[in-house]
């Protein structure tokens, strides 16, 4: 927990090191205690730099909770740098919320120590280690229908629409796309991208059409033009064909 961080030899220590601290507040508190800083008058600039250094060193900079705290520290640091007028009574210490949370968390840590001691003391005594009546029926299982229905509701709440993702592997249909483009070009000399793929094309369709277009262009059957970046692609027949 608040054991001092062990230097990491390589990047492989990520998971192990993460368990050294139970969270960003724990790490912050560790740094504060190590330097014997006053929580209520926190030198944020200093502690922010240390925090960043440690999470970099421990590879914690991949964990969202730590990143969020780093961002919070930097924001407070910046706020403290803003000039303020001496007569400004309205000024609120940007550290206040963080200090409140740290104090609250520190209290929890004290309770944790107390609980850990209590649990260790209890572990020095053993109770009866077995269920004495092997012939007795297994403990009755209680399920309340309302509990089950509440669980069902929770589950339903999890999925606003009960639609499940199913990954259906579908091969690209370049041949079909080629045929479609050729048929369209037989009727019209110029096409827009939308004429070929339609409004709500699926990814496989888009890819198929795209590959077919590139292939046809390479064969010299058509010419692709994009007048300007991000504008719709214009597909133009290269050689006029004889009408069917």
């Amino acid at each position: 927990m608040t054991t001092p961080p062990v230097a990491v030899q390589d990047g492989a220590g990520f998971v192990v090191e993460l368990e050294q601290f139970s969270g960003p507040l724990d790490l912050l508190l560790h740094l504060i205690h190590e330097d014997e800083l006053d929580i209520t008058d926190l030198p944020v600039a200093k502690i922010a730099d240390q925090f960043l250094a440690v999470i970099n060193e421990l590879g914690l900079n991949q964990a969202a909770d730590y990143l969020e705290m780093a961002a919070r520290l930097l924001r407070i640091k910046a706020q403290l740098l803003l000039p303020r007028r001496a007569e400004d009574d309205e000024w609120e210490d940007p550290r206040a919320e963080l200090v409140r949370r740290l104090l609250e968390y520190q209290q929890i840590r004290e309770l944790v120590d107390w609980l850990a001691r209590a649990a260790a003391r209890r572990a020095e005594q053993f109770g009866r280690g077995f269920a004495p009546e092997p012939t007795a029926p297994p403990a009755e299982l209680v399920i309340d229908l309302n509990d089950l229905l509440a669980a069902a509701e929770r589950v339903i709440a999890l999925i606003p629409e009960p639609v499940l993702h199913r990954v259906v592997p579908r091969p690209l249909d370049v041949e079909g796309a080629t045929a479609k483009i050729e048929a369209l070009l037989a009727q019209r000399e110029e096409l827009a991208w939308r004429d070929v793929v339609g409004e709500r094309a699926e990814t496989v369709e888009v890819l198929s059409v795209f590959i077919a277009l590139l292939e046809l262009a390479r064969r010299g059957a058509l010419r692709l033009r994009q007048p300007e970046p991000f504008s719709p692609i214009v597909i133009r027949r290269e050689r006029p064909r004889e009408a069917a």
């Binding site: 009866r128 403990a139 399920i143 229905l149 999925i159 499940l164």
Partner: protein, 182 residues
């Protein structure tokens, strides 16, 4: 009571099975088996007679504290050794999904709950609340789960049709509306 007898008393009490004299001798390597046997005798005599609710008996080539026979019925009736078990919310959630979607595979359950559900399903299997009813199509032919008759039994339902329809649910679970002022 001798110091060794007290140690044996503690060990025998905490053990979940009969302990042999050899095993008990490992507790106090200096003592030797003869001393252990003497201490066991002392302990047995101490609990013998009518003056205790438990006794030390020789059983399965070992020694074990057991409650005296005359209390067996009373204690069994009270069933203290066993607590009624309740299902965790995770188990209830999983059970609900299996009940409404059966036959259903693990992946689908996990997709709905958004968390790994293998362990929970295993526990429900063990408790006889769900069972494997078939295998699905597709990759690896996944196991498909359904509810068991025991599931209905515990809930006091005749059959699955007695479960409320999903669209009735949120209504059914809403707390009763406060009485309207007349």
């Amino acid at each position: 009571m001798s110091a060794l007898a007290k140690l044996l008393e503690a060990a025998l009490f905490a053990a979940s099975r009969p302990l042999t004299a050899q095993e008990l001798a490992t507790l106090e390597p200096g003592a030797g088996e003869a001393a252990v046997r003497a201490a066991l005798d002392e302990l047995q005599r101490r609990y013998a007679g009518e003056d205790h609710g438990v006794e030390l008996v020789q059983i399965a080539q070992g020694w074990q504290f057991l409650t005296r026979r005359e209390y067996a019925e009373t204690i069994e009736r009270a069933q203290f050794a066993l607590r009624t078990r309740r299902l965790s919310p995770a188990a209830l959630e999983t059970l609900a999904i299996v009940a409404y979607r059966q036959p259903v595979g693990r992946l689908e359950v996990e997709e709905i709950r958004g968390v790994d559900s293998g362990a929970v399903l295993d526990k429900l299997l063990e408790r006889g609340l769900v069972e494997i009813v078939s295998r699905g199509e597709g990759l690896g032919r996944p196991l498909l789960y359904g509810t068991t008759p025991q599931f209905l039994e515990i809930l006091g339902l005749r059959d699955l049709d007695e479960l409320p329809r999903l669209d009735e649910l949120s209504v059914a679970l809403r707390p009763p509306a406060p009485a309207e002022p007349e």
